[in-house]
C-alpha cells in the first residue's frame, strides 16, 4: 500500500509538469496562428466567390491555382528560380548596405554631409524602381550587374535613412559617457554604435527587401532569362493567369519564410535586452 502510494505520488507531478507547458504552448501557437489562418480562409473564400461570379479563364478558381502552385513547387522548379532571384536580391542588398552604412553615419554626424546627400536621397526615394530597372538593363545588359545594381539603387535611400535614424537615436548622454571614460574607438564602434544600429538596420532591411523584390522582378522581366520575374513574364505572355498567380504565391511563401526564419529571430535578438523585447 505504501509502495503504491509512493509510486502514484512521485508519478503525478511529472505528468502534470510536462502536460501543462505543452497545453500552454499549443494554446499560444493557436492564439498566434488563428488570425493568420482566418485571413487565408477569408481571402480564399472571397477569391472563390469572385471566380464563380466571373466564370472566366481570366479569374481561375482556387483549385486551378493550387494545382499550378503544387506543380511548380513540388517539381523543384519554383524553389530553384526563387533561389536565383534571392541571390541577386541579396547581392544588391549587401552592396546597398555597404554604401548606406558610411553615408548614413556621415549624414547623422555632419551637417554638411546631411545637406550634401539630401538631394540624392530624395532623388532615390522618388525615382520608381522601373526607371532603375530600365537604366541598368540598358547599361549592363544581360549580366549579374543589372539586377544587383538596380536593387542596390532602389534600396539605398531607405537603408541610409534607417542608419541615419539609428545613429541619431544614440543619446547625447551616452556620447558624453564614452568621452568621459575615453573609450577606444574600436570599442565605441563595436559595443555602442553597432548594437544601436543593429535594430534600425534590421527594420531597414525589412523595408528594403520589399522594395528589392519590386525592382528585381522588373529587371528580370526586361533583361534576364531566368528568375521569378522572367517566369512571371513567360506566364503573362501565354495569358496563363493561374501561372502568374502561382508564381506570385510561391514568392510570397518564400518571403514569409524569410520574415519568420530570418527577420523575426534577428529582431528578437536585437531587442533581447528590452523589457518585453522577447515577446
Amino acid at each position: 500500500m505504501n509502495v503504491k502510494n509512493l509510486t502514484l505520488d512521485s508519478a503525478r507531478p511529472v505528468t502534470a509538469a510536462t502536460a501543462v507547458p505543452i497545453i500552454r504552448r499549443l494554446r499560444g501557437t493557436w492564439r498566434r496562428m488563428a488570425p493568420q489562418a482566418l485571413f487565408f480562409a477569408v481571402l480564399m473564400a472571397a477569391w472563390e466567390i469572385m471566380a464563380i461570379q466571373a466564370d472566366s479563364p481570366l479569374v481561375p478558381g482556387s483549385a486551378a491555382i493550387a494545382r499550378e502552385f503544387a506543380g511548380i513547387t513540388l517539381s523543384g522548379f519554383a524553389p530553384a528560380e526563387i533561389g536565383i532571384t534571392f541571390v541577386r536580391m541579396s547581392l544588391g542588398f549587401l552592396l546597398a548596405l555597404a554604401v548606406a552604412l558610411p553615408i548614413g553615419i556621415l549624414t547623422a554626424v555632419s551637417r554638411f554631409a546631411e545637406r550634401f546627400f539630401e538631394p540624392g536621397i530624395i532623388l532615390g526615394l522618388t525615382v520608381p524602381g522601373l526607371v532603375w530597372a530600365l537604366l541598368c538593363v540598358i547599361w549592363f545588359g544581360v549580366s549579374l550587374a543589372s539586377p544587383v545594381v538596380a536593387v542596390a539603387l532602389g534600396v539605398l535611400p531607405a537603408l541610409i535613412i534607417s542608419v541615419n535614424q539609428g545613429v541619431r537615436s544614440l543619446a547625447h548622454e551616452l556620447v558624453e559617457m564614452q568621452r568621459v571614460f575615453r573609450l577606444p574607438t574600436h570599442i565605441v564602434l563595436r559595443r555602442i554604435w553597432l548594437p544601436v544600429l543593429y535594430s534600425f538596420i534590421i527594420s531597414g532591411c525589412r523595408i528594403g527587401f520589399s522594395i528589392a523584390w519590386k525592382v528585381i522582378v522588373l529587371v528580370e522581366i526586361f533583361g534576364m532569362s531566368d528568375g521569378v520575374g522572367y517566369q512571371l513574364n513567360a506566364q503573362f505572355s501565354t495569358q496563363n493567369v493561374e501561372g502568374v498567380i502561382a508564381w506570385t504565391l510561391s514568392f510570397w511563401a518564400a518571403m514569409l519564410l524569410v520574415e519568420h526564419g530570418v527577420f523575426q529571430p534577428l529582431e528578437r535578438h536585437a531587442n533581447r535586452w528590452k523589457k518585453g523585447g522577447q515577446a
Partner: protein
C-alpha cells in the same frame, strides 16, 4: 595617484540661444581642490555648479582660463557618476562595468576579476548577467558607481548622483559611496560632488563650497571636520547643515 585640481581664472560664457540672452556663468573663477579630498558644490539651481563640473570633466571648454591637474590632462583617469546612470542598455551589468576597463586592463581575466570584486562591493553579484532595464533605479545607480570606481580614478566627479532616487535608497547609496571612498585597497581619488542636498554634502564632503550669484562666486567654504566613517544621523551633520543653509540664505 589622485590629483590636485586647480581652477584658474575661468570664464564661461554661453551664447544667446532661443530668445535667451548671452549669459556669463563663471567670471574669473578661481579655486583649488586638494589631492584626495572630496569637495561638495552647493548653491541655487542654475548658478553654475554643473557647468563647473562639465568643465572639469572636459565635456565643455572654458571661454577663458584653464583647469590644471598634477599630470597632463590626457593621463588623468577621470570618472563621473551622473544623475542618471547612463548605462548601455544592451550590455549586461558586468559588461557595462568591464567596457570602461578596456583601456586600462588588457587582460580579460583580470578585468573580469575587477568587475566581480566591484559587483560584490556594490552588493550586486547576482545581477552580473542582468540587463539594466531589469534593475531598479537604485541598482542601476550602484552599477554606475561600480563603473566609476572600476578605472581606479584620479578624479571622481559626482553630478547629483542620488537626486533621482527615493530618500531611503539614496541614504543607502551614500553609505555605499562612503565605504568605497574609505576602501584602503584602492587609491583615494580627488572628488567633486554637485548636490542640492545639504545633508548629503555634509555627510560625504571634506569641504563644502557654497556658491551663488551671477556670474557665480564663492559665498562660503565650510570645512566638515567629522571623522570618517560618518553616520547619516550624526547630530554634527545637522549643525553643518544649519550653517550651510544660513550661508545660502545670506547669499
Amino acid at each position: 595617484m589622485s590629483s590636485t585640481i586647480r581652477i584658474q581664472s575661468i570664464d564661461k560664457q554661453f551664447p544667446a540661444r532661443g530668445g535667451d540672452p548671452e549669459r556669463m556663468v563663471l567670471k574669473a573663477f578661481d579655486f583649488r581642490i586638494r589631492s584626495g579630498e572630496l569637495v561638495a558644490l552647493v548653491g541655487p539651481s542654475g548658478c553654475g555648479k554643473s557647468t563647473l563640473l562639465n568643465l572639469i570633466a572636459g565635456l565643455d571648454k572654458p571661454t577663458r582660463g584653464a583647469i590644471m591637474f598634477d599630470q597632463p590632462v590626457d593621463s588623468i583617469n577621470l570618472s563621473v557618476v551622473f544623475q542618471q546612470p547612463r548605462l548601455l542598455d544592451w550590455l549586461s551589468v558586468q559588461e557595462n562595468i568591464g567596457i570602461v576597463l578596456s583601456r586600462h586592463e588588457p587582460d580579460p581575466d583580470r578585468r573580469r576579476a575587477t568587475v566581480r570584486t566591484l559587483l560584490e562591493q556594490v552588493e550586486l553579484p547576482e545581477h552580473a548577467q542582468a540587463y539594466p532595464q531589469f534593475l531598479s533605479g537604485g541598482q542601476r545607480q550602484r552599477v554606475s558607481i561600480a563603473r566609476a570606481f572600476a578605472v581606479n580614478p584620479d578624479v571622481l566627479l559626482l553630478d547629483e548622483p542620488f537626486s533621482a532616487l527615493d530618500e531611503l535608497t539614496a541614504r543607502r547609496l551614500r553609505m555605499l559611496l562612503q565605504s568605497l571612498w574609505l576602501d584602503e585597497t584602492r587609491r583615494r581619488p580627488t572628488g567633486v560632488l554637485v548636490t542640492h542636498n545639504m545633508l548629503e554634502a555634509a555627510f560625504l564632503a571634506d569641504r563644502v563650497i557654497v556658491m551663488g550669484g551671477t556670474p557665480v562666486e564663492i559665498r562660503a567654504v565650510i570645512d566638515v571636520a567629522i571623522e570618517r566613517p560618518r553616520h547619516p544621523d550624526d547630530p554634527e551633520l545637522f549643525a553643518i547643515h544649519r550653517r550651510l543653509m544660513e550661508a545660502l540664505q545670506d547669499g
